[in-house]
């Protein structure tokens, strides 16, 4: 019986502090161990907190003396994580410090809980070993992803860059957490137009590719569907290398949409006549799922955004029946 091993939560979660690092230089508190990657706007290091020995992830962003100031990506990530970090499936922001580097430039340090891998590495590891991810593991990971997305959406936030690289994992516990909210935005304040220059191309929803000026939570659900397929096959489902190629890739596999399957598609700004492909069965595109899995995948990759299954509803889908039994609530 597959169940999710929830880590014991601390009795009282420490609230992230926002200190100036007054007195001690911010970096004097941490020992950098190694660079482990780059986020949307900064380098990421594995580091040790000297006072406690705790291992953390340190995201460093330099604020050069130019005229950009604090990047909106950093501003949004910190403020949205302050609101969302209480969820077990969103990476925890532990601290925020302002420091100065050797050249006298201002540095912002974001201190996160450390997770030892991400879904991209996890999938790649299985691919290079020519082995599939066990079906039970796929289900556990997908359940956690849907829970995290449901929480984020419930707070009125779009992630807008869900992809395997931004989903952190603990190899031992199979815990999965949503990270890198640099391209996220709140959708609680109405604005005239959202940008299209977000979402890594392979996981980008068709309504964005077709130039919709308003989009919402369904764009993240499409990404979840792409990730689901990739977990099953170890290969990205729609690996396009330009916006047009991305769109054609989707249409070739899922069929070219029309007014019947997607009312209003013809009015989207980037719509024009496309070759008329017929849909391929999901079971041929993504071999290895059971009937419930295909049903859920189909609902995640629904063309019409309004019909795409919300994350909260996805959690109730029969595919997750055996995982839900192990869930506390």
């Amino acid at each position: 019986m597959a169940t999710i091993q929830h880590q014991a939560k601390p009795a009282v979660a420490a609230a992230p502090s926002t200190t100036t690092g007054g007195g001690q230089r911010a970096m004097d508190l941490y020992e950098k161990l190694e660079k482990v990657g780059e986020g949307t706007y900064g380098k990421v290091y594995r580091a040790r907190e000297k006072a406690t020995g705790r291992i953390v992830a340190l995201k460093k962003t330099r604020l050069p003396e130019d005229d950009e100031g604090v990047p909106p990506t950093a501003m949004r990530e910190v403020s949205l994580l302050r609101m969302l970090s209480q969820d077990p499936h969103v990476v925890r922001l532990l601290d925020l410090k302002q420091g100065v580097n050797k050249e006298g430039q201002t540095i912002l340090y974001l201190v996160f809980e450390y997770m030892d891998t991400d879904l991209k590495k996890f999938i790649r590891g299985h691919r290079s070993n020519n082995e599939k991810i066990p079906a039970a593991t796929v289900k556990i990971l997908m359940y956690q992803l849907c829970k995290g997305v449901a929480f984020v959406h419930g707070r009125g936030v779009l992630h807008r860059d869900l992809k395997p690289h931004n989903l952190l994992m603990d190899r031992k516990t199979m815990a999965l957490k949503i990270a890198d909210l640099g391209l996220s935005r709140a959708i609680t304040v109405p604005v005239k137009k959202y940008t299209h220059e977000i979402l890594t191309l392979w996981y980008r929803a068709p309504e964005i590719l077709l130039g919709a000026t308003h989009y919402s939570t369904p764009v993240d659900i499409w990404s979840v569907g792409c990730i689901f397929a990739e977990l099953v096959t170890n290969q990205p489902l729609f690996p396009g290398d330009s916006e047009l190629q991305q769109l054609l890739h989707i249409f070739k596999l899922l069929g070219t949409p029309n007014e019947q399957v997607w009312p209003g598609v013809g009015k989207l700004p980037n719509w024009h006549e496309y070759p008329q492909w017929k849909p391929t069965k999901l079971s041929a595109l993504v071999p290895g799922l059971d009937a419930d899995g295909y049903d859920l995948l189909e609902k995640l990759l629904e063309y019409e955004p309004a019909k795409r299954i919300p994350a909260k509803k996805a959690l109730e889908h029969p595919y997750f029946k055996d995982v839900r039994k192990g869930d506390a609530h």
């Binding site: 009282v12 979660a13 420490a14 609230a15 926002t18 200190t19 100036t20 007054g22 007195g23 604020l63 003396e65 005229d67 950009e68 100031g69 604090v70 909106p72 501003m75 949004r76 910190v78 403020s79 949205l80 302050r82 609101m83 209480q86 925020l96 302002q98 201002t106 959406h153 419930g154 707070r155 009125g156 936030v157 935005r185 709140a186 959708i187 609680t188 304040v189 109405p190 604005v191 005239k192 137009k193 959202y194 940008t195 977000i198 000026t213 308003h214 919402s216 939570t217 919300p310 909260k312 506390a328 609530h329």
Partner: protein, 237 residues
């Protein structure tokens, strides 16, 4: 466990000020600017009077601790950040004309003005920073800049905002950081809170400026989830 009290999906994603992604006609740019200028003028007048009264009391209480008490480094750091907004130039035009510059030259949307106002409200409640003549130029420019960066996906450069606000680019970038730390980076305005601020502005319009926004905003405006999170943090301390 108790059922979730998170805002329902329809609540979270409702457009409280009109369905087309913009504020309602009552809150068009000129109206929002006029209303905010009027409200802020009253706040400044009230705050100046309160400061005058407080300084009067200070003189008659020689035993009071010095303002720069260093017993709490975090509090001292916050005071230093707040003082960054004081001094220097004072506005040489009306608040209305000043606020209008951001709409005209930086194409700031009505929603950004509302969010900037929400930030000033939070600063007052949290860090105790009040708008006064000495800080209005820097505080308003910075609040509008930060609100614009948080709310809009496309923005002008800090140097452009600085020029519109009559500040040096380097000064504005430093103030931006100070503002963010004073706000503790709490920039999100949830749907319900945004709706409430819009309603207050609309009432100001319908009452022709006689409406006393201050009274109705007696209770801090926080959304349910954030309120519970704050309670947990308070319990944790």
């Amino acid at each position: 466990m108790a059922t979730s009290e998170l805002p329902s999906e329809s609540d979270a994603f409702a457009f409280p000020c009109g369905d087309d992604g913009t504020t309602s006609p009552a809150l068009s740019p000129p109206v929002v600017i006029s209303v905010l200028a009027s409200i802020l003028e009253r706040h400044i007048a009230l705050n100046e009077r309160a400061m005058a009264a407080a300084s009067g009391l200070d003189q008659s209480a020689p035993g009071d601790k010095d303002d720069d008490d260093d017993s709490d480094p975090a509090a001292a750091a916050a005071r230093k950040r707040a003082r960054a907004f004081d001094g220097g130039t004072v506005l040489d035009m009306s608040l209305h004309a000043f606020l209008e510059r951001f709409s005209r030259y930086a194409h700031v949307s009505p929603q950004v003005y509302v969010v900037a106002y929400a930030y000033l409200d939070r600063l007052r409640r949290g860090a105790g920073v009040r708008v006064v003549r000495a800080n209005a130029q820097r505080l308003l420019t910075t609040a509008i800049l930060v609100a614009s960066k948080f709310v809009e996906d496309r923005n002008y450069r800090n140097s452009y905002f600085a020029a519109v606000g009559g500040l040096a680019a380097a000064e504005l970038s430093a103030l931006e950081l100070d503002f963010l730390f004073l706000m503790q980076f709490r920039l999100n305005v949830c749907a319900g809170v945004f709706r409430s601020y819009c309603r207050h502005l609309e009432r100001e319009v319908s009452h022709g400026g006689w409406y006393r926004v201050d009274r109705r905003l007696g209770r801090p405006l926080v959304c349910a989830g954030e309120a519970r999170a704050q309670q947990r943090q308070a319990a944790a301390v």
